[in-house]
């Protein structure tokens, strides 16, 4: 099961949970798994200006990014730069 880290501002919607275990082979499948248990959660994770990090690397593939059973998934502020 991959580990999905919940952004701090979203944790109150999950009773304070900081991370969740989820099954799937892509980020999208993890979210489908979580959505079944926590309806509406995805809308707080898939937002403009949030990037998806898998195993400490921001992925250009987004929800299509493959994950392993021991992967870590974070939703972090998208960085642009100057």
């Amino acid at each position: 099961m991959a580990t999905v880290f919940i952004p701090t501002v979203v944790r109150p919607r999950l009773g304070g949970l900081a991370q969740l275990e989820a099954s799937g082979t892509t980020v999208g499948e993890l979210l489908i798994d979580l959505e079944a248990r926590y309806p509406g959660l995805s809308q707080f994770l898939l937002r403009p200006n949030l990037a998806i990090s898998v195993d400490d690397e921001v992925t250009p593939l987004g929800v299509l990014e493959p994950v392993r059973p021991d992967s870590e998934v974070h939703f972090i502020a998208a960085i642009s730069g100057g």
């Binding site: 952004p7 701090t8 960085i79 730069g81 100057g82």
Partner: protein, 732 residues
Amino acid sequence: MSVTTYNVIGTRPIRHDGADKVTGRALYGADLQLARMVHGAVLRSPHAHARILRLDTTKAAAHPGVFAVVTAADFPPAPTDKIVDFGEGDTLLSSLRGNILASGKVLYSGHAVAAVAAVNAHVAAEAVALIEVDYEPLPCVLTAPAAMAPGAPLLHEGLANGNVAEYVRHEIGDLAAGFAAATVIVERELNTATVHQGYIEPQNATAFWSSDGRVHIWCSTQGSFVARDASAAVLDIPVSQVRVTPMEIGGGFGGKINVYLEPVAALLSKKAGRPVKMVMSRRDVFTGTGPTPGSRVRVKIGVDAAGKITAAQAWLAYEAGAYPGAMVGPGAMTVFACYDIENVLIEGFDVVVNKPSTAAYRAPGAPNSALATETVLDEIAEKLGIDPLELRLRNAAKEGTRRADGPRYKRIGCVEVIEAMKASAHYNAPLPGPHCGRGVAIGYWFNIGLPSSATLSVNADGTVNLIEGSTDIGGSRTSLSMQGAEVLGIRAEDVHPTIVDTDSVGYTGVTGGSRTTFATGLAVYEAAQDVVTQMKARAATLWGTKEVEFSNGTFSSGSNSFSFAQLAAQLGATGGPVVGSAAVNPRGAGGSIAGLIIDLKVDPETGKTDVLRVTSVQDAGKAIHPAYVEGQMQGGTAQGIGWALNEEYFMDGSGDMRNSSYLDYRMPTALDLPMIETIIVEVPNPGHPFGVRGVGEANIVPPLPAVANALYRAIGRRLHSVPMNPATILNL
């Protein structure tokens, strides 16, 4: 440290665009002349916050020599929830369009209200003066704390919380336990003023809306594809109907990613039936484009007797300007990014105020937050009697360190940068005399990937033409050509780079986020590999073999060998042209750590600060062209010193900027600074074949706190707001 030996990388060839730049042949947007071209001008709001009661353009439209007038009413209706993608930064279409031409309300002094196209710029200015606007002035708010206060005038309806557009929060560990374990705790609040990127060339755009429905835009932009996509969104036409030609760019530093004039010039052209050229004045640039946010940052850090940080807390409020997007996200992510800390709480607020809508500026958001962290650490080092660099070294982030926002670092050079600072001649030299102080600080920037495309075509004389789409701000033509040359085993001078329009190359992201030498460089590397593969096949055909080796520019098989140039001469007889292409969207950009050592002297009579000696240290991964890396380090350092000592938007109580010229907006010149010494640290980035890390941004992070720390040692008192100018010092 990097040990691989290269033939081209690491050398210092003359830049490919050098002759054109120094002889004045390079064409900037203001140089553009097109047949039947007319000229645009913009009417801007004199109020920082006002309702538009009446907007009448009748007299302007009737003025002799006027071809077109546009207002926000000429834009197609904007869906309130449509997002415009700027790569890894998005914005609401309604905000983007509202900033380009105001509708209903003006939200800052300088907000564009209407535009005119006329036979020349003078007639356009006359016509602008004939536009009649009735305003109902509204109370304005100019700082984040004021905008967050109960009862503050609201800029927009429907934001998350009054004038707070977004709240960010990062939390790890047990903050209370961490502070309980501390021997020394210091908490301070630091303020920064609104400052501008200060590029020399003003924004400009020329547009021609052809009768076939296609729009061609020539402009000064950091990203031709972003300008294309944003303009298409604002105009509500397909991206394929817009072609953007990037002209040479006279600086950007993040401020030339957004669009301001491009859609307006296009609308004027559509009405006028002619090309329309628009060039901003310096006041337009200051008041009508995007500066970087002013901010208030509160930082509390606890350290145990051994010098280990046990807990850290930050509260950040950044001024977004008129529309959301204050870069508080990266500010929050970088506030403690240089350090390995187990217990952290960070809260950030994106706050709209009646100032120009902010834009990126080198490592956007990071200097503001580093100012607080690095001055608090300096104070703690003094209390504990620990060398300030040693304190940083004991807490430096390393590979595997988890940031408060979640991810862990890949390989980074924080320890190596601090050690290079400690070992430098500068840090070990004595100060020259009284009223002098030395300050140090470090800072971090992420760097980014994003898509890039490149094409290499081989010429019969053994040279190669490079077609790419990255605007060249800091010498990227050369840093990209060098990467292609390294792969092909030819000279950098034998690669001829051309930056083309959006119809002529694959999608390429902005020149920003310190990504160009990394990401477009990777595209060039891959395109060159494609060329090598095709050339090996040609050699195999010539020699009647299947096995061809390629090394150091030589193709060989058994006793046969060709140099790259010799084989290039044979292409016509072996199947025709060889063209290599690549499109990439890389991960693994590799963040960069920068450090600064600065010596200052303060005149106790006048409060004037003289910069005596400066050393910039930065992890470049692998410096492709060391002179350009040094240039980036020196440029970012100079800008950071100006930000720290003198620069600010000086606003009156009504929200009008009173120093909107380079006479009054005090940027440092060559007369104000000594030669900035540089130390390039090379901790290769595993995400790039040559180990490249972007170097355009991290260097602006440490100057603010390093200056603050040096001033403290020079005058014996700590200042808590930048700019730390003579008046501030004398009023202590």
